[in-house]
């Protein structure tokens, strides 16, 4: 079974993000970038399936600027077999990503696509669902356990009330939650091997996908600074402040 995993290049989770001076977005110049942690879980799951003999080949796909190659290399060092970069400098919103992935999937014909449930930069949590809908495939989102049974897939999902297990027909789209697995470190020998694995480069134009953003970002702001607390002298004063300053009652 061929697997496809989507990996996104994001600001590293350790970096304290800063808003650009013109409020058009988040500062990414000279900032450490790495693979979206949910996507690492996706790669790890795919590699485990291959190690278990369930999967035969893993293709890692990333979309965006040329440096996304580094993110693909990380996936290759973790155990993916080859990479595809859909290269563009354009802003990519979830719908465009889903359409591009669909185009790649139509070429590659994988049986299973695994993605992170969301990316830690925009927290959209939309791409996997959109992709499944566009493909007309089954979807198992927020997976904390995935098991292949013949032509079917058992996915345990983390839902508000607890865990829900669904049975999907393959081909399918799975998005990963945090508890699915603990991703491995890419070892030095595998980093060296990854250098020799192929990465193909495509473009949105070649795939015939219009990636024009449908949404406009008006402005990005830092969350308001937390104000220092105040001690109140009496319940009356507290009620007064809640009513007239905080205006919550």
């Amino acid at each position: 079974m061929k697997l496809l995993v989507a990996v996104k290049r994001v600001v590293d989770f350790n970096v304290k993000v800063r808003v650009k001076a013109d409020k058009s977005g988040v500062e990414t110049a000279n900032v450490k970038m790495s693979m979206n942690p949910f996507d690492e879980i996706a790669v790890e799951e795919a590699v485990r399936m291959k190690e278990a003999g369930v999967a035969s080949e893993i293709v890692a796909v990333s979309l965006g600027v040329a440096q996304c190659q580094e993110t693909i290399r990380t996936a290759l060092a973790m155990g993916a077999d080859r990479g595809i970069l859909v290269q563009t400098d354009a802003e990519l919103q979830p719908l465009a990503v889903a359409k591009l992935l669909k185009a790649v999937i139509e070429k590659e014909q994988p049986k299973l696509v695994i993605l992170g449930k969301q990316a830690i930069d925009d927290d959209c949590n939309q791409t996997g669902q959109m992709l499944a809908a566009l493909l007309g495939w089954a979807q198992g989102t927020f997976a904390s356990k995935v098991k292949v049974e013949g032509e079917q897939l058992l996915v345990t999902r983390e839902v508000d009330g607890g865990l829900e297990t669904v049975r999907l027909k393959l081909p399918a789209v799975v998005t990963t939650d945090l508890r699915l697995n603990e991703p491995r470190y890419a070892s030095l020998p595998n980093i060296m091997k990854a250098k020799k694995k192929p990465i193909d480069t495509l473009t949105p134009e070649a795939l015939g996908v219009d990636v024009t953003p449908r949404l406009v970002t008006l402005k990005v702001e830092e969350p308001p600074k937390r104000q220092a607390g105040k001690k109140v002298g009496s319940v009356q004063e507290l009620l007064d402040k809640l009513r007239n300053e905080a205006r919550v009652i």
Binding site: N14, S187, P189, I191
Partner: protein, 610 residues
């Protein structure tokens, strides 16, 4: 918070030391900037997620000795295993041994992360790699197969056993006996008996086996040990006899007599080992620790120095990184801690400012930056010399690198140990009372770092090595080579008017250092030359780091002019260089005054007058 500044590391490796050129050499041809970046990313992550996480716990929960075996917290085992599984233990070794032929300078930069995160846990892989390298260099093929492979996989961990309870710095006085016991597939076999003290990693539950490299003396024909260092041989003494021996898996006659309870570095077990007690374990049916001779009999100390020199540089790296982490922690604290108002502020109701706004706090931070970044740069330079020693194009270049490395080793060990510790002292000071509590990491950094001027040769021993062996006995030959390197940096800085003052200051410090050394050479073996050797080492160390700082400043100045971005970073480098030349370089003169005067103030002090 990061363990070190990756921006600084990238600057040192790729702007200052030109490491990107190394893959042009055959040995490193499989590598590229891309793999170097990936390895540094991996190191940062592994260090933060597996080493830093038990930094305090390993200090709080010391190793214990129970039923004759030493136990450590499980996190150390997981960390060491993760390090080995990531391929980092084997990284710099030859491909034939399963290594990745990673340049030493990149491996050192990788190791810097682990030292910063948890120096005590990092000691296990550090010692193991040095042990394996010695056996790989001087062992027989069967010894290499039995011990190097398993060490590089992390299944066996290594130690070095030199000191004894009565003989530490003075190895000539060791009394561990090695009696010939025939020959087997692993070479000339001996039975060892004696006690070995201060053995880091001497026992633990981290690995299948422990490979001790032991110095011992074989008795002469009269049955007596040969006095002095000439009688010393080197033996491999594993805790369990390995595959390839006559009794694989048999417990060797090595027992833990006790654990040392240390001020810091507590995650590294430190043991008194007894060899050849013959009570609990009798391998191959008789008493005596089974050991195999490495190299020639009587050449033990020279071979051990192969490992010792590597360990000394690693000690310097650990000291540098403890200083570095304290710097970053106190920097963050100073940016967040509001206290007091600017000196000129008149309004007592104005809000307090972060303490980083106070000039004296800035001074303490700048001093730490100058010490920590200077020390790391020095260690990376030395690691680069190891690469030159191994892969430079001509024999002359390789020999030059060896000579420089030999001369710089006592400095690479001592300077970071002394000044990294001074940086940790300032890190506590910046934290004020909080720094003196165990709620913050800086007190532990200080305690951990306090070992570094002691082990692998104390500062006093390093001073004798530098002045006695590396300068006087060498008659200044290696010194002259280093002076040429310094002159090259001076010449390169000459074009930059902003650096002219530093250049002159550096040149005059080095000229005086050379004159004083020459005067001491001319004393012709008079012991007065060594009376104030430590002051000479202090002066020499500062002059070396001044040179390292001028080199960094020149690079920063050029990059600043060319790139036009990252201005704050480069200005920080230039400022730290300026700090070093304004605050630190003047100390050289007073140290050299003492040396040049041949004063007997300390050496001549009568014992009874203390």
């Amino acid at each position: 918070m990061p363990l070190l500044s990756r921006r600084d590391l990238d600057f040192l490796l790729f702007e200052w030391l030109d490491v990107e050129r190394l893959p042009r050499r055959e040995r490193y041809a499989e590598h590229s900037r891309e793999t170097f970046d990936a390895i540094l990313d991996l190191s940062a992550r592994l260090a933060e997620e597996r080493f830093l996480t038990h930094y305090k716990k390993a200090d709080r929960e010391e190793p214990v000795l129970r039923d004759g075996a030493v136990r450590v917290i499980p996190e150390i085992r997981e960390a060491v295993a993760a390090y080995a599984q990531a391929g980092l233990l084997a990284a710099p070794f030859d491909a034939a041994l399963g290594g990745a032929q990673l340049p030493h300078v990149v491996h050192t930069a990788s190791m810097a992360h682990f030292m910063a995160a948890n120096v005590a846990t990092a000691a296990y892989p550090m010692l193991t790699a040095a042990n394996a390298r010695l056996i790989a260099a001087f062992g027989t093929p069967s010894q290499i197969a039995a011990f190097v492979g398993p060490q590089l996989e992390g299944r066996y961990l290594g130690t070095m056993c030199l000191s004894e309870p009565q003989a530490g710095s003075s190895l000539a006085d060791i009394t561990t006996r090695a009696v010939p016991d025939g020959e087997d597939a692993l070479g000339r076999r001996y039975r060892l008996s004696g006690s070995k003290m201060w053995i880091s990693g001497g026992d633990h539950d981290l690995s299948e086996n422990i490979v001790h490299l032991v110095l011992a003396k074989a008795p002469g024909p009269d049955g007596r040990l040969i006095p002095g260092t000439k009688g010393i041989s080197l033996f491999i003494v594993p805790k369990f006899l390995p595959a390839g021996s006559e009794a694989p898996g048999a417990r060797n006659d090595v027992t833990v007599a006790g654990l040392n309870h240390k001020m810091g570095y507590r995650g590294t077990t430190n043991c008194l080992l007894n060899l050849g007690e013959g009570v609990a374990h009798r391998p191959l049916g008789s008493a005596g620790a089974v050991g195999w001779l490495v190299g020639e009999a009587g050449a033990g100390l020279a071979l051990m120095f192969h490992m010792m020199n590597e360990a000394r540089i690693a000690v310097g790296l650990g000291a540098a990184m403890l200083g570095y982490r304290g710097y970053l922690l106190s920097l963050e604290y100073a940016r967040q801690r509001p206290q007091g108002r600017p000196l000129a502020a008149k309004d007592p109701a104005a809000p307090p400012v972060p303490i980083i706004r106070h000039p004296d706090v800035k001074r303490m931070l700048l001093a730490q930056k100058a010490y920590a970044e200077g020390a790391l740069a020095l260690l990376l330079y030395c690691a680069r010399l190891v690469d030159e020693e191994l892969t430079a194009q001509t024999e002359a270049e390789r020999r030059n690198a060896s000579a420089l490395l030999g001369l710089l080793t006592p400095v690479a060990k001592t300077w970071p140990s002394e000044w990294g510790l001074a940086a940790n002292d300032l890190a506590i000071q910046v934290h004020g009372g909080y720094g003196y509590t165990r709620d913050f990491d800086v007190e532990q950094l200080y305690r951990d770092n306090r070992l570094n001027p002691i082990h692998e040769g104390t500062t006093g021993i390093q001073a004798l090595d530098l002045l006695g062996r590396k300068i006087l006995r060498d008659r200044g030959e290696a010194f002259a080579r280093l002076r040429e390197e310094v002159a090259r940096t001076e010449a390169a800085a000459a074009a930059d008017p902003a650096l002219a003052g530093f250049r002159q200051q550096l040149a005059s410090a080095w000229d005086r250092l050379g004159r004083v050394a020459q005067d001491l050479v001319e004393l012709g073996g008079d012991e007065r030359a060594l009376w104030n050797a430590t002051a000479y080492l202090s002066a020499f160390g500062h002059a070396v780091v001044g040179w390292i700082w001028l080199g960094q400043a020149r690079r920063a100045s050029a990059s600043l002019a060319a790139a036009g971005k990252d201005e704050a970073f480069y200005r920080g480098k230039l400022r730290a260089c300026r700090y070093f030349f304004e605050y630190e370089m003047p100390k050289i003169g007073s140290w050299l005054d003492v040396v040049a005067s041949l004063t007997d103030v300390a050496a001549g002090m009568p014992d009874e007058s203390f």
